[in-house]
């Protein structure tokens, strides 16, 4: 029974999870990716921190609306924050974001050219499993998918339990390809089970927290303490940013402040939240935690979300977030999460293909003398699996590569990035249906390899032709190197798939016919 449950919830949510995991793996390197994809900043240097009060004063004189909420960047290396002072016209960073610095002569310089939109696109694809419709609406779907994902994990383990000892440490690479895929699926699933359970449960909460809070508040007795608001009576001068940084260093030496957010409202005066990280602790947001600071004295007023300064309850809570984001333990964990994310994507891809194969076998039981062909649903699911998975890969690669070229002719970067992704994605799905899963898989794998090679190609173009694109050097070359490795993997898989589809038994989803074209075998053999 649990095998049926595992199959069905897997089929229903597998493809959405593939997109979430592939895009999620890439978001582990969102910062270098954004730096790779962002134009050289308009300002080459930040206004010195000591001169920031002057800068803020001039900004507020010229743009009084910024007084409600503005941010002061502290860490100059932060690619997402290319100016000392930033503010947005809309709530939560929506609307136009302005960037301001002081020129050498002390005059105010303001522009609205933000960092690349491509990192945010990949992040949105991850959060909304590739469906970029209304956020609230999609989150209901994501929550349901995450719950099914949890059920799939539990049922998968139950199915595996009886043969666990026999199957676990064995990868039967041989004639029976389905057996090999099943062994791989089991091994991946079981060894990354803790990771998957964390992801499933945190994703349920990320999607449904409003529902959960609302039902607890309406149905249960409230017994928490009321929130405490400090009254600020007299008007005083706030400390300058560099003084606040110095005060913070005294109070929490391990805390590395990234930026300050000043927030002013008439009824409670000026409030200050400092976002920052502590390399020895995880944090609640992917890149930072938050400290509440008194802007007049520099005293810490709230350390509930401050990495390294939390009590046990809040630290426990933060651990849920940082286990999802993988923002603890530095680069080794970052790479581990990246690989676990990719492994997760493989798990869902193999899971779907396994179902298709065993679905046919099951139907053949008792009818061995007859030809049992793939059913229409199997053919559709095969095409969907291949088209959606590889379309997502090719789409993300293409839209990343476009980042260095788009500014040549357009300012609407975010819209173009999304347009490019969806064009490639839907073309791939259509192609998979037109050509069938087997041929489609080969061609789309090659297409993914080519699309991924576009990434280092535009970097090369930028190096050769001045005026086209840019190269920042440093860790951004990691993006190009990873793209080359990725493209190599896709080409290798394409070669393997060519072999597979010509050796596949008749009626397999991979079967395309006996004739083997010489070029394909040569290509396949070379890539081994």
């Amino acid at each position: 029974m649990y095998r049926d449950i595992h199959s069905w919830v897997g089929i229903v949510c597998g493809l959405a999870l593939f997109i979430a995991f592939y895009a999620g793996a890439i978001t582990m390197f969102e910062a270098p990716l954004n730096r790779w994809a962002s134009k050289p900043a308009v300002f080459s240097e930040h206004t010195p921190l000591e001169k920031t009060p002057e800068l803020v004063e001039k900004v507020l004189a010229e743009y009084p609306k910024a007084a409600g909420r503005y941010e002061v960047t502290l860490d100059a290396g932060f690619a997402d924050r290319p100016a000392r002072v930033m503010w947005s016209t809309g709530p939560r960073g929506r609307g136009t974001t302005y960037y301001a610095e002081l020129a050498e002569d002390g005059s105010l310089q303001v522009h609205t050219e933000g960092p690349s939109a491509v990192g945010q696109l990949v992040d949105d694809l991850h959060q909304q499993v590739g469906i970029l419709l209304d956020h609230e609406l999609v989150m209901q779907l994501v929550g349901a998918i995450s719950l099914m994902y949890f059920i799939a994990l539990i049922s998968g383990v139950i199915v595996l339990l009886p043969t666990l000892v026999k199957d676990l440490f064995i990868l039967r690479i041989g004639k029976n390809l389905k057996r090999m895929w099943l062994d791989l699926h089991n091994a991946l699933g079981l060894f990354s089970l803790p990771f998957h359970i964390i992801m499933a449960l945190t994703a349920v909460v990320f999607a449904f927290h409003d529902l959960f809070y609302a039902s607890q508040w309406t149905l249960l007795e409230k017994n928490g303490r009321p929130e405490f608001h400090e009254e600020v009576a007299e008007h005083r001068e706030p400390l300058a940013p560099h003084q606040i940084v110095a005060r913070l260093r005294e109070q929490a030496p391990g805390f590395k402040p990234l930026y300050m957010q000043f927030h002013a409202e008439e009824d409670h005066g000026l409030e200050l939240r400092v976002s920052g990280s502590n390399p020895r602790h995880g944090s609640r947001a992917p890149g930072y935690g938050i400290a509440g600071v008194d802007p007049y004295t520099g005293d810490l007023t709230s350390t509930d979300y401050m990495p390294g300064e939390q009590d046990g309850w809040y630290a426990t809570l933060t651990s849920f977030f940082s286990l999802h984001f993988g923002n603890f333990g530095g680069n080794p964990i970052r790479w581990t999460y990246f690989l676990l994310g990719l492994a997760g994507a493989v798990l869902f891809y193999t899971g779907n293909l396994l179902w298709i194969e065993s679905h046919r076998k099951k139907r053949r039981k008792g009818y061995e003398h007859l030809d049992v062909q793939q059913t229409k649903p199997s053919i559709i699911l095969g095409a969907l699996t291949v088209g959606i998975s590889l379309g997502c890969i090719a789409g993300i690669s293409t839209t990343i590569a476009a980042a260095k070229l788009l500014p040549l002719w357009t300012d609407a970067l975010a819209a173009w990035h999304m347009g490019i992704y969806y064009t490639v994605f839907f073309l791939s799905v259509a192609w998979a249906f037109y050509r069938g899963a087997a041929r489609g898989a080969v061609e789309l794998l090659y297409a993914s390899a080519v699309a991924t090679l576009f990434i280092p190609a535009v970097s090369l173009l930028s190096a050769l032709f001045p005026g086209v694109g840019w190269n920042h050097g440093g860790s951004t070359y990691l993006i190009d190197v990873m793209a080359i490795i990725g493209a190599g993997c896709f080409a290798f898989l394409a070669g393997k798939t060519v072999q597979r589809i010509h050796n596949a038994p008749e009626y397999s989803i991979w079967y395309v016919g006996e004739e083997v074209s010489p070029t394909q075998t040569v290509l396949g053999a070379q890539l081994q």
């Binding site: 029974m1 649990y2 049926d4 449950i5 719950l147 949890f150 059920i151 539990i154 049922s155 499933a200 449960l201 945190t202 349920v204 909460v205 449904f208 927290h209 959960f212 809070y213 039902s215 607890q216 508040w217 149905l219 249960l220 007795e221 409230k222 017994n223 928490g224 303490r225 009321p226 929130e227 509930d304 009590d311 309850w313 809040y314 426990t316 809570l317 849920f320």
Partner: protein
């Protein structure tokens, strides 16, 4: 272990809809009640975004997830509804009793 159960007692996937809906609806009410028990008699809290209140909210995911995963073990849809619904009624009675009668 190796002895097969009689057909009538074997679990099948047939009644998945009834069992799953019991897990979704009755299971959710039961989950909220369990959170209520922890916040009424345990260290957790509800409301006002304290750490304990946030953990109470987080508790929903694993508890509901486990109920949804194992609700298929009930013999029939009716039993699933009866057990999960019954457990909800018991826990909710305790909670309401302490809230309105005992105080």
């Amino acid at each position: 272990m190796t002895k097969r159960l009689p057909k009538a007692q074997q679990l099948s996937s047939e009644h998945w809809f009834g069992k799953a809906s019991a897990g979704v609806f009755a299971g959710y009410l039961l989950t909220i009640a369990i959170c209520g028990i922890f916040s009424r008699f345990g260290p957790l809290e509800v409301g006002f975004f304290s750490a304990q209140a946030q953990i109470t909210m987080w508790l929903v995911a694993p508890v509901w997830g486990l109920i949804l995963s194992f609700c298929f073990l009930f013999q029939s849809s009716a039993r699933a509804w009866a057990w999960l619904g019954g457990a909800s009624v018991v826990l909710w009675s305790i909670l309401l009793l302490f809230r309105f009668v005992i105080g």
